[in-house]
Symmetry: C2
Subunit: 248 residues, 2 copies
């Protein structure tokens, strides 16, 4: 029994990772050579796949993430659906689609609607190597050329991540379970591309009851070891209160 795809529906995942210093995105190499070994295509794409029959978009996204990283239960957020009719129509993308059809039998429709998600992971948890389908981390500030409309998708993902990160404590999805305040500050600075004042930042964090200091310090660092903290979703849910923000 063959699993059937819904031919005009796909899911693309923008996988963000934080390495303690920089915000990165996981990209897949896309290369195609002619008979003489010269590159016809040599760029990158997001990780994506078709939606299968009987599957929701969310399930498809989790499946893709599992395929790529080997992990379940990655934080995922659906942020936009791209339905432009010319999404796949650039000459390069057409060559690629033709190649896939000839070599893998995968049939990509003319007009594919893509439901896009972003995922947040701690880069240290997933270090891609050669088994990993030619994927690698690239810093958000220095993204290589992307195929299809993936540059657009990537930009919208970053915008949505920022939007979302202002309202809910999702930064912690980028950090290890136990983290230092400097790591937290770096993560926020990386997401928003800003610089914060260390003392003001720490004063603010002290007031937050769901960021809990542990009786535990860093080990093996060549400087004064930092205190470790954990984020408690439980305490967050119990103590959160909506603050009204007006756009002006």
């Amino acid at each position: 029994m063959k699993t059937q795809v819904i031919p005009n529906l796909s899911v693309d995942c923008v996988i963000f990772g934080f390495d303690g210093l920089e915000l990165n995105v996981l990209l897949k190499e896309r290369t195609l050579k002619d008979d003489k070994g010269n590159f016809i295509i040599n760029d990158h794409t997001l990780t994506g796949h078709h939606v299968l029959k009987g599957e929701t978009a969310e399930q498809a996204a989790q499946r893709i993430l599992k395929d790529v990283t080997g992990f379940d239960n990655i934080f995922l957020n659906q942020f936009h659906t791209f339905s432009e009719t010319d999404r796949l129509s650039s000459p390069k993308d057409q060559i690629w689609i033709k190649y896939l059809k000839q070599n893998t039998g995968l049939n990509i429709a003319d007009h594919v609607i893509s439901i896009a998600f972003y995922a947040l992971v701690d880069t240290k948890k997933f270090r891609p190597d050669q088994q990993h389908q030619n994927v690698a981390w690239y810093p958000v500030k220095n993204i290589p050329e992307l195929g299809f409309d993936h540059k657009r998708i990537m930009e919208k993902a970053l915008e949505s991540l920022r939007y979302h990160a202002k309202h809910e404590p999702i930064v912690f999805e980028l950090l290890p379970e136990k983290f230092t305040l400097t790591e937290l500050q770096n993560a926020i600075e990386a997401i928003f591309d800003i610089k914060l004042d260390k003392r003001n930042f720490r004063r603010k964090i002290q007031q937050v009851k769901y960021i809990i200091p542990l009786d535990e310090k860093q080990h093996g660092v060549a400087h004064k070891p930092a205190n470790l903290f954990i984020f408690s979703w439980d305490v967050y849910e119990r103590t959160k209160k909506e603050k009204l923000i007006l756009p002006f």
Copy 2:
């Protein structure tokens, strides 16, 4: 020549309207009677339609809004795509789908993915009457029973509207071009379901350069006529600056 639909893709529009006092949603009646004239189905749905071949989701949404209200260029925001496999599987919805197939030839697939938009309009601009496909305004605070998964879609739309309204000056899409500060305050209060202090609100608005007082007052009101204001998207774009908001 028949226009072709993409059978497994639809667009649903949550049309919000503001009447100066309350936030409303435009809903369509859905009724079906048996031979004896008893209601088999008597509830409401959002306005929606299939996506046509060669059309983007955004174009489909604009087309639906034009069909329903007669207006072009309505403010639209795509907020989520619903792909649950049981979206249309309740007994009532199945009866309705069967009825549509028999009576209109419209064939609705088992698994329809719906790209959902919300729209913002000034209620006074569009007052539905009997020509208008049995649509009517219902206050958001008192929504009748909805078919399919439209209650869920409606709730998510409201959540997204609130989210969005915190960051960008989209409230003005709900107001007439010239509005009073009380109307503006009422709109914000209706969106967020809160009460604001009049004096503090007005002090805040005074600082905002893109909400511009006119040399013009209300007419025909049985009280001191209010000053009228306009919103300038131009001034907004020129003067806006991102304020950093942390979720804690």
